[in-house]
């Protein structure tokens, strides 16, 4: 299966190891992975700020970069949410529609498309608090949100259950937003930081050594909060666990 890898801008700059883990993991499970070199950003920061016009260039470039592929996979829920639900600053031609329909977040790609459940090459002997990022939880439907009266499921927890040695701990508010929120993290700094503090404290009180997520942006914010508070928490993207890059 041929897959085009989309590496969001902040992962490219700050967390290349997450992109490498994603690449290796996809290859390990049999995908032929292509990295289109002209990629930049999906346009999410602009779209989320209301700047549709300014987002159009990035969105058009995204479509040009990825239109030729059957599957586009990214290790970032919020970016995939933007592509799937908000890539609307550009004309909705066949290429745009194709790209929007065929872009997958890594967890859902592994869970739904490849239907992989076991990760015997990985091992993670730590207490892990799972961070449900809002984009994956309520937009990509990774899991059943606690607000809804419907049977529980969680794709990321199903995948993590296939990792030997892992111990999951649950914070008191597993669905609460951590306060990253894209540009919100700087435009609404006081609330954002407070939410981040509350989030990392909740995980720490639950006994987590690591906080793991499918969204590195949330973790970047939480890591900044935990470090400022002096909490001994570590942060890891699910790709790094599933690939066995971090043990």
């Amino acid at each position: 299966m041929k897959v085009a890898l989309f590496v969001p801008c902040f992962i490219d700059t700050f967390f290349p190891e997450v992109a490498i883990a994603t690449l290796e993991l996809l290859e390990r499970v049999g995908c032929e992975v292509v990295y289109p070199p002209d990629q930049t950003c999906c346009g999410q920061p602009l779209g989320n700020s209301g700047c549709q016009q300014d987002a159009a260039g990035a969105e058009a470039l995204f479509v040009r970069n990825f239109a030729a592929y059957d599957y586009i996979v990214a290790p970032s829920g919020s970016c995939v949410h933007h592509v799937r639900d908000h890539l609307t600053a550009i004309p909705q031609d066949a290429a745009a529609k194709h790209v929007r329909a065929q872009t997958f977040e890594l967890v859902e790609f592994l869970h739904d498309v490849l239907q992989i459940r076991d990760f015997p090459w990985a091992r993670f002997e730590h207490k892990v608090g799972w961070h449900n990022s809002c984009g994956t939880l309520r937009q990509l439907h990774h899991a059943q949100p606690s607000e809804i009266n419907a049977p529980f499921f969680s794709k990321p927890l199903t995948l993590l259950a296939g990792v030997p040695g892992i111990e999951l701990v649950s914070p008191k508010r597993p669905d609460e937003c951590c306060g990253f929120g894209g540009t919100f993290c700087v435009t609404e700094e006081p609330v954002s930081a407070r939410m981040g503090y509350d989030k990392v404290r909740d995980h720490q009180q639950a006994g987590a050594d690591f906080i793991a997520s499918a969204d590195m942006s949330c973790l970047m914010h939480q890591k900044g909060c935990a470090e400022r508070l002096g909490l001994p928490l570590r942060f890891v993207h699910i790709a790094q666990i599933l690939n066995g890059s971090v043990r």
């Binding site: 801008c9 902040f10 992962i11 490219d12 700059t13 700050f14 290349p16 190891e17 992109a19 490498i20 292509v34 990295y35 070199p37 990629q39 930049t40 950003c41 346009g43 920061p45 602009l46 989320n48 700020s49 209301g50 700047c51 549709q52 300014d54 987002a55 159009a56 260039g57 990035a58 470039l61 809002c134 309520r138 937009q139 949100p145 607000e147 009266n149 419907a150 609460e176 937003c177 929120g181 894209g182 540009t183 919100f184 993290c185 700087v186 435009t187 609404e188 700094e189 006081p190 609330v191 930081a193 407070r194 939410m195 981040g196 509350d198 970047m220 890591k223 900044g224 470090e227 400022r228």
Partner: protein
């Protein structure tokens, strides 16, 4: 020109007071958990939400007919029906009704609509005393503040704050902050007003077209006291409160208090159909911007709102910034999508006081797509040029860079990369704000792009 609400500044002040923010967050999160307990205890909960949404959307799509049906039935029941195009007309009608009966004291139960109309100061300037009889609303009235929450108006206050307000206004002991003592003090202070008042006023949770009746939900019974003890009852009704049939009430009453407070029903669910023997009843149907909102393709869904406050309780931003930080009658997620319809400039910050996490939409009993509307309001704010110069210009620059791979690589991998690059190029000068309470992320020695070029050159060239 109206002053722009500065949500960030108000939130910063609120957060600095640890006892208040801690209580506020935990109290409202507690309500959210009680709500979950109720919602998960009813097998048909999600079906009820869907029905409620459909009933409201149907009603709004036939609103003209239902308003006329309601008027016809209410009139036949002996109610005098008035129509007010805006807040000013509403206030004038209330004043005329009261003046005609020489009323100088009005007792009332909570109504967001009368807050919207700023009715109290209007009447007080004309010699009519107005007494709010809901405890939380009375606290806010005496403290000269707007309600900070549509269901629990004084939730941002601690018992000590209330003790102080009451000591100054109703003569309770300032050193006694026992809630039972304070509530009893207010009971003793308020009950005589019901007996003296020439008229009572209520809001309206639901107006039933089929019966011409108005339904009001309270826990204190203060709407029932306001409407039943004085000879004259006035109900102010937003035109979006209509529902077609009495049987529709089953859907809404089952969900209203469960969503709001996590209780199966309010202590009193009161149905006013006709004036009591020897009394008079007036209904005022108020537009005040609602018909204009009905014309807004993306935003008319907000008219489905039944004012339960569940979106506020679940909102992580609201819980940590307090209702007053929204600077308008409606706070929280619903405020972020309703207030801009009244004054876009003044409330242009509110759609940005959200992380777009979507929890509000999930708890909404009438399935308003609140977070999607917040997203769309941001576009309106940007289109109307209310974004602010720095943000606007930095977005324009970021848009150009992100559309151009070469320029983008120059930014992210150029000689002055590191902290001076992404996402700084995207977010205006973010690290000033980022670093106040958070450590900065460290850029990697090598971007993934560089790593890939070095490691996988042959594949990249294919």
């Amino acid at each position: 020109m109206s002053r722009r609400v500065d949500h960030v500044k108000a939130a910063r002040t609120f957060i600095q007071d640890e006892p208040h923010i801690k209580f506020h967050d935990q109290r409202l999160w507690g309500l959210r958990q009680l709500r979950d307990g109720q919602a998960h205890g009813i097998a048909e909960w999600e079906q009820l939400r869907e029905l409620a949404s459909q009933i409201k959307e149907h009603t709004l799509s036939h609103l003209g007919d239902y308003l006329e049906q309601f008027e016809r039935n209410a009139t036949a029941n002996g109610v005098i029906v008035h129509w007010a195009a805006d807040a000013a007309e509403h206030n004038r009608i209330v004043h005329e009704i009261l003046s005609a009966q020489a009323v100088t004291l009005l007792v009332k139960s909570k109504s967001m609509l009368t807050e919207e109309c700023e009715m109290r100061p209007y009447l007080e300037a004309r010699g009519i005393a107005v007494v709010e009889t809901d405890l939380g609303e009375r606290i806010q009235q005496l403290d000269h503040e707007m309600p900070s929450h549509i269901v629990v108006p004084a939730v941002h206050k601690l018992r000590g704050d209330v003790a102080q307000v009451f000591a100054e206004n109703i003569g309770t002991d300032p050193t006694n902050d026992d809630p039972a003592y304070l509530a009893e003090g207010m009971r003793q202070d308020t009950r005589p007003y019901f007996l003296k008042a020439g008229a009572g006023m209520t809001g309206c949770n639901f107006a039933v077209a089929e019966t011409g009746s108005v339904v009001v939900c309270t826990n204190e019974g203060n709407a029932d006291l306001s409407a039943n003890v004085p000879p004259l009852h006035i109900a102010s009704i937003g035109i979006e409160k209509l529902i077609p049939r009495q049987s529709d009430l089953g859907v809404f009453i089952r969900m209203l208090s469960r969503s709001a407070l996590g209780s199966p029903i309010t202590q009193y669910t009161s149905h006013f159909r006709a004036p009591k023997a020897g009394g008079a009843m007036h209904f005022i149907l108020v537009d005040n911007g609602r018909s204009a909102r009905l014309a807004m393709d993306d935003f008319w869904y907000s008219l489905k709102c039944i004012r339960c406050g569940a979106c506020m309780n679940t909102c992580p931003v609201y819980r940590r910034s307090g209702g007053l930080s929204y600077g308008g009658v409606y706070a929280g997620p619903i405020g972020a999508i309703i207030n801009p319809t009244f004054d876009l400039k003044k409330y242009s910050a509110l759609p940005f006081a959200s992380t777009l996490n979507g929890s509000c939409s999930n708890v909404c009993p009438v399935k308003i797509n609140i977070h999607e509307q917040i997203y769309k309001w941001r576009q309106i704010v940007a289109e109307q040029g209310e974004l602010g110069f720095i943000k606007k210009e930095s977005m324009k620059l970021a848009g150009k860079v992100l559309a151009d791979p070469k320029r983008y690589r120059a930014f992210s991998e150029g000689s002055n990369r590191a902290i001076d690059t992404l996402p700084r190029a995207l977010l205006y000068n973010p690290f000033n704000a980022w670093g106040k309470q958070r450590e900065l992320p460290t850029p990697a020695a090598q971007t993934f792009h560089q790593w890939y070029a070095a490691q996988r050159k042959e594949q990249a060239d294919e």
